[in-house]
């Protein structure tokens, strides 16, 4: 295909890295990122070798004349946006149909799609936290407490979303909010046991994405990323426990005010 060979190597490299960056910042597995980058390179006749970790993507491409181009992309923040991973996966699935500029346009377009709005997030986290009360065998009052704790966590994460705080601190405060709301309900006599609503609302903070991706990375052979993600899971777990524990301890010692 002569049309495809006209594109210079570093443009292909940049496009491939951009696609990889979208997946990595949306919470995709590292082996998927490497796979996507090398498949885009293959499609445009460039052999790309790639090394990706959670915080950095290093790619280097070699063309037919043995000339080497390379690129390092630093990843500063990661969030969870499974829709973007799904969209990139679909795009790469029929990559044959796209020309270079079409693929670039499609990737830029899907990167601009906003995630669910604040209202939707608020409803989802309130309902998600409250629904956990049923499997934990709680009553209607626990349901209300977990609902309000979910609203609190969602409001807090919305307020600090622009501040670029570290995740340890955010999880610590979120855990503290869950424990605070439930203990407040307990102290005012609405619920008889604060544990059920605390667990229900803490579930919002459980690092499910990192846990599952770390396992999938380790199976795929990416030991560096897998273990660092497992550390992330451990760190988030500690932060939640410390936050909730601190508040519960305070309520124990100065309970009833």
């Amino acid at each position: 295909m002569p049309k495809k060979q006209l594109i210079s190597e570093h443009h292909v490299l940049q496009l491939a890295t951009f696609a990889g960056k979208i997946v990595l910042t949306s919470g995709g597995e590292v082996y998927r990122v490497e796979d996507i980058i090398s498949r885009i390179g293959q499609n445009f006749n460039l052999k790309i070798d790639c090394f990706a970790t959670l915080t950095c993507i290093i790619v280097s491409g070699k063309n037919a004349n043995d000339e080497v181009v390379s690129l390092v992309e630093r990843i500063n923040s990661r969030s969870t946006n499974l829709d973007k991973i799904h969209q990139v996966h679909k795009l790469i699935g029929d990559i044959e149909k796209y020309s270079f500029s079409e693929l670039k346009k499609a990737l830029e377009d899907l990167n601009k799609v906003p995630s669910y709005g604040f209202g939707m997030n608020l409803i989802a986290s309130a309902l998600g936290a409250a629904s956990f009360v049923v499997p934990f065998k709680g009553g209607a009052n626990d349901f209300a407490a977990a609902f309000i704790a979910g609203v609190g966590v969602s409001l807090f994460s919305y307020m600090v979303s622009g501040l670029h705080l570290n995740s340890f601190f955010i999880n610590l405060i979120s855990g503290a909010i869950c424990a605070f709301v439930s203990n407040l309900f307990y102290v005012s006599g609405i619920i008889t046991n604060p544990s059920i609503s605390i667990i229900s609302s803490l579930m919002l903070l459980v690092p499910g994405v990192a846990f599952i991706n770390s396992i999938r990375d380790i199976i795929a052979g990416d030991l560096v990323s897998g273990t660092s993600r497992a550390m992330e899971v451990l760190m988030i777990g500690c932060a939640i426990a410390i936050g909730a524990g601190l508040v519960t301890k305070l309520f124990f010692n100065f309970g009833g005010f």
Partner: protein, 142 residues
């Protein structure tokens, strides 16, 4: 009670799918996965299996469902799997470990901590089993 819990597991999964920004009909299929995971967890608990076996089998079944549906819906496995496993996440274990610790019940705390890590380990093993089988299948098909 069985049915009500499964229905609420469905709602839990849908809420979390929205929080993880899953869109369209995938939210629904993810919710089905969550309902399946809780249904089988309850089923195996009812049978009287040990909790690590319950978690292992229920996780494996959910992972199996996610792998098959991901092929069918042309999506990635985590899109369906992450939210579907949330109902079984051992958040309660982490909380009780911490609670016993601050109540100075160190032995209970260590027991709960061990239990939580065993649950996390069995869930990991469940995912590993199914993913490896599907990789093998994919490999031989090529």
């Amino acid at each position: 009670m069985f049915i009500i819990e499964v229905i609420f597991a469905f709602f839990i999964t849908i809420s979390f799918a929205v929080l993880f920004n899953v869109r369209g009909k995938l939210v629904f299929y993810s919710g089905i996965g969550g309902a399946i995971s809780w249904l089988f967890y309850l089923f195996f608990t009812e049978k009287g299996y040990s909790y690590s076996t319950c978690y292992l089998l229920a996780t494996a079944i959910t992972a199996f469902y996610s792998e098959i549906m991901a092929k069918k819906l042309k999506t990635t496995v985590p899109t369906l799997l992450i939210a579907a496993l949330i109902p079984m996440a051992p958040g309660g274990g982490v909380y009780y470990t911490m609670l016993y610790l601050i109540q100075d019940k160190y032995q209970d705390s260590i027991l709960k901590g061990m239990e939580t890590s065993i649950i996390a380990g069995s869930m990991a093993l469940g995912i590993i089993l199914v993913t490896t089988i599907f990789r093998l299948f994919h490999h031989t098909k090529k």
